[in-house]
């Protein structure tokens, strides 16, 4: 029990420097890179007075280290600042408006990519060096190379325009929007037992989440394959055979289960890839998540919102990797006991 405690404490403590480094990186990118962020935001033609006023407001007229301390201090109190446009709402509220959409998309994309990756990875790993193994390795490279916007548009053309089977953009038929509980439409419509909303939101989710899921499944193919090959070569698998256990139970109950442990430890990194892919997916499918939100605010040169969104990404990624590692500790008995 003590080893688990030590693990959890160490892991939680390790998250702090990680977040700190990422926040510093964001600060560095936003302030220290060549160029004045205010001018980058409002353009060269703005009046000197307006620029001065904005600089003062963003505390850019203070020494750099003071800005840095101030920046960290505000974040510590959960303050991401206020938007520079449109009613100057707190950035955190704006992010929270868009976060459920991104979460919904990435979770579904994640499910598709893991299912596809598991199936293809197992087919490849069962017989290393075989024809199917090669075919699945090619699959993994091909799907990873599918440029998300292009692949998304092709799916839109096939399923939306040609087959008229699925909607090509948006999250839901706006008339059917369910009562806001979590902001995740599939969940909200299930909670309120709103079947039309459920069906509409799932239909809208299909193409974007499949696009994201298929492209990223190639990574899981590789991970599952190499991990499974390693596990199947271990002594205890041969020992299982020597006891006459059925092939299927050796492969799934003993082989795959053990192979998934190292993959789990890499889930955090994979989730980051998912978030990056989601930016392109959201843009392609006009999906109103954080990705489209970030791009919109970059276009409007809303400096504080851009900074706040990136900070949000950083904290989110760090927390996900923390959660993944804690799940791992719970699942692997060698850490748990």
């Amino acid at each position: 029990m003590t080893s688990l405690k030590t693990y959890v404490i160490t892991r939680v403590l390790l998250t702090i420097p990680m977040i700190f480094i990422l926040l510093t990186l964001v600060f560095f990118v936003m302030r220290v890179l060549p160029g004045n962020p205010v001018i980058a935001m409002v353009g060269m033609k703005a009046s000197q007075r307006y620029i001065k006023q904005l600089e003062h407001e963003l505390r850019l007229d203070k020494p750099l280290w003071e800005q840095y301390v101030d920046y960290l201090n505000r974040l510590l109190h959960g303050d991401l600042g206020r938007s520079m446009i449109w009613g100057r709402r707190p950035v955190i509220n704006e992010i929270m408006d868009h976060f459920p959409a991104t979460l919904e998309l990435t979770v579904w994309g994640f499910i598709f990519s893991v299912l596809l990756g598991l199936a293809t990875g197992v087919v490849a790993g069962v017989k290393e060096g075989g024809k199917m193994d090669f075919a699945m390795r090619v699959y993994s490279i091909v799907v990873y190379s599918l440029f998300i916007p292009w692949f998304g548009m092709v799916l839109q053309l096939i399923f939306g325009v040609w087959l008229h089977a699925l909607p090509v953009g948006g999250r839901i038929n706006p008339l059917l929007t369910p009562k806001h509980i979590t902001g995740i439409y599939v969940l909200d419509s299930m909670l309120t037992w709103n079947l039309p909303a459920l069906s509409s939101s799932i239909r809208h989710l299909m193409l974007p989440s499949l696009t994201l899921g298929i492209v990223l499944s190639g990574i899981y193919t590789r991970l599952v394959r190499s991990s499974l090959i390693e596990v199947l070569g271990q002594d205890f698998i041969r020992a299982c055979k020597s006891r006459g256990l059925p092939e299927r139970s050796i492969l799934f109950k003993h082989g795959l289960k053990n192979a998934l442990i190292p993959i789990l430890t890499m889930m955090g990194l994979q989730f980051a890839l998912l978030l990056a892919g989601a930016v392109l997916t959201e843009t392609t499918f006009s999906w109103p998540g954080i990705g489209t939100f970030l791009m919109e605010r970059i276009e409007y040169r809303d400096f504080t919102t851009v900074q706040g969104t990136v900070v949000f990404y950083a904290i989110f990624v760090a927390l996900i990797s923390l959660i993944v590692d804690l799940i791992y500790a719970y699942i692997d008995p060698r850490v748990r006991y």
Binding site: Q234, D235, F236, R238, A239, C240, K241, S242, R243, G244, L245, P246, E247, S249, H254, K257, N258, I261, D332, P333, R334, Y337
Partner: protein, 319 residues
């Protein structure tokens, strides 16, 4: 009960020629007998052990001979048919207990899984039997829910033995079961094997490179060298009067405490490279009695007083 006839196993390698790791080997095991399989590493003894269970694939293949278990040949059996032989009729204990158990599975579940795979009994009955088995190998039932990593090497090997005995097989193949353990635990495990053999009336093939251990524990033994069985006879005969020059050399190499003025002798030379074995007798480059004939022709197997020996020094057909 078990009769191995002219068995050959070939290993395919990716960047070197195939190796005949076991070459036309003959030996038999009677019911309840403890038979040793002794030789240096690379002699083919472990391959032979795995081959009896048909566990040499994918890189290895049985290319000839028969494995008769109570008269039934195992060689032509499919993987599916072998499933019912493995564990139930023949089972195996492996060299490294640290890596032979599934790290994600509790000790007790290993046993229950094995029992329920082969027998149609309730889970409760299976659990009772599992606990009984653990007691038989000297593990207290409160370790039932332990994970493998919570146990010492010796205890894990006891679990492996319990697993091997779970379905009351007729034969257990033990592949260097004590090599990975420290000396005191080694003796305990060997004693455990001896007791269990009497208790369960199970035959044991004990594979080892340790001739002293084999002489003490077994009734009969086969001495392997370069994929051949060089000598097969009762262990007392081998101890008193070894026939094959290789057996003699092995016996001399045992450090003898009583004769402490005698210096430790190891056999000069190296084991043969089986991808390119020496012509004639495979032992001739290291054999002090080697003659021209040994360098030219493979020696035949002679039977002398019920003992088998593969050497030109015996029999009358020397030319």
């Amino acid at each position: 009960m078990l009769k191995v006839e002219n068995l050959s196993v070939r290993y395919m390698q990716r960047f070197s020629p195939p190796v005949l790791a076991v070459d036309r080997v003959n030996f038999q095991v009677e019911e309840g007998e403890m038979v040793g399989l002794v030789g240096e590493s690379g002699s083919g003894k472990s391959t032979l052990g795995l081959a009896i269970m048909k566990l040499v694939s994918p890189s290895g293949k049985i290319v000839g001979g028969r494995i008769l278990l109570n008269g039934r040949d195992l060689v032509p059996l499919s993987e599916k048919e072998m499933r019912f032989v493995r564990g139930r009729e023949i089972s195996m204990v492996f060299q490294d207990p640290m890596t032979s158990l599934d790290p994600l599975m509790r000790i007790g579940d290993h046993l229950i899984e094995t029992i329920l795979t082969h027998e149609k009994i309730s889970k409760k009955e299976a659990k009772e039997r599992a606990i009984k088995l653990l007691q038989d190998v000297g593990i207290s039932p409160d370790r039932f829910y332990d994970y493998p990593h919570q146990m010492s090497g010796g205890m894990r090997q006891r679990v492996m033995i319990a697993l091997a005995l779970a379905l009351n097989p007729k034969l257990v193949i033990a592949d260097e079961p004590t090599t990975a353990l420290d000396v005191i635990v080694q003796d305990q495990i060997i004693d455990l094997f001896k007791n269990l053999r009497n208790q369960f009336r199970v035959a044991i093939v004990m594979i080892s490179h340790d001739l002293a251990l084999e002489l003490e524990a077994t009734e009969k033994m086969a001495v392997m060298y370069g994929g051949w069985i060089m000598e097969f006879s009762r262990s007392v005969d081998i101890a008193k009067d070894p026939l094959h020059p290789y057996t003699k050399a092995l016996l001399k190499a045992i450090p003898n405490i009583e004769l402490n003025d005698q210096k430790l002798i190891s056999i000069p030379g190296h084991p043969p490279d089986l991808s390119n074995p020496p012509k004639g007798c495979r032992f001739h480059p290291r054999c002090p009695y080697a003659e021209d004939l040994c360098r030219e022709k493979e020696p035949p197997v002679h039977v002398i007083d019920g003992r088998y020996v593969k050497c030109w020094l015996f029999g009358s057909d020397r030319r």
